[in-house]
């Protein structure tokens, strides 16, 4: 098996995991925050009570765990593959957030919003096709 093929086999499953894990984290955060009324508090004690209620939500911690997992997977991917390969693939996460919001939160994603999300994916993909580094590396080496 060639090195490139081995690298593909190693990175593709992790790219799929990152495309699901990051958006899933945001969906869980959304579930934890939905209806908490934290933006409409009337006093400091009110804000504290809302914050404590949010902190007690399992969804908040599940969301943070997913985002931490996403961060670790992303870092791992960047040690194996080029940033310019990982970043465009990550643009698909904007599509998966729409799918997961529909499936898990029951949000109605209008055709106009789908169109916007697809245009964003295209834009991120184009950004990802550019050179990942334009400045010389720092001189200090650890």
């Amino acid at each position: 098996m060639t090195h490139t093929r081995r690298l593909h086999l190693k990175t593709l499953p992790l790219i799929l995991v990152s495309i699901v894990l990051g958006p899933l984290g945001n969906v869980f955060l959304g579930k934890a925050m939905k209806g908490s009324a934290i933006a409409h508090f009337s006093s400091l004690s009110d804000l504290l009570a809302i914050a404590l209620r949010v902190l007690a939500s399992g969804y908040l911690w599940l969301g943070i765990a997913c985002l931490l997992g996403f961060f670790i997977v992303h870092m791992l991917l960047l040690t194996w593959a080029d940033y310019s390969y990982v970043q465009p693939a990550g643009s698909l996460s904007y599509l998966s957030i729409s799918v997961l919001s529909y499936l898990l939160l029951g949000e109605v994603v209008s055709p106009l919003r789908w169109l916007g999300v697809i245009v964003i994916c295209v834009g991120v993909f184009v950004v990802g096709r550019t050179a990942p580094s334009t400045t010389p590396a720092a001189t200090g080496v650890l």
Binding site: N26, E107, S110, I120, V126, G128, T134
Partner: protein, 124 residues
């Protein structure tokens, strides 16, 4: 109005935080040694840099703004609109880190902004 302020914090503070961390990382230099002692030295060196702490503070502000916005807006609206951070990141990287942004990358960023505008129109 509150919505716009929170998006401003998510995009500007979040991206500003990443730029500050990036600046701190660039001054520390590349990591070639991944042994625990070298990583610990790297962490200690990073923690001594004010840019690192400013970055963490700004990213925290961005995260709490995201949580607040998610309390009254849909996830499928908030996350795509926060892609504006690609544009903020490009302007910030050019001004703050001296990066050269190619015409090809500006084109990608313009497409992202167009997509964000379309998603914004879909707001309920």
């Amino acid at each position: 109005m509150l919505e716009a302020v929170l998006f401003f914090f998510i995009v500007v503070a979040g991206t500003g935080g990443e730029l500050c961390v990036s600046r701190a990382m660039k001054s520390v230099g590349e990591i070639h040694d991944f042994r625990p002692r070298a990583l610990l030295r790297f962490l200690i060196q990073s923690a001594r840099l004010p840019w690192m702490w400013l970055g963490i503070a700004l990213m925290t502000l961005g995260f709490f703004s995201l949580l607040t916005l998610l309390s009254f807006q849909e996830v499928s609206f908030v996350v795509p609109v926060s892609a504006l951070s690609y544009a903020a990141g490009a302007f910030g990287a050019k001004a703050f880190l001296g990066e050269r942004i190619s015409a090809h990358r500006w084109l990608g960023i313009a497409i992202v902004c167009l997509g964000v505008t379309i998603v914004w129109w879909s707001r309920k």
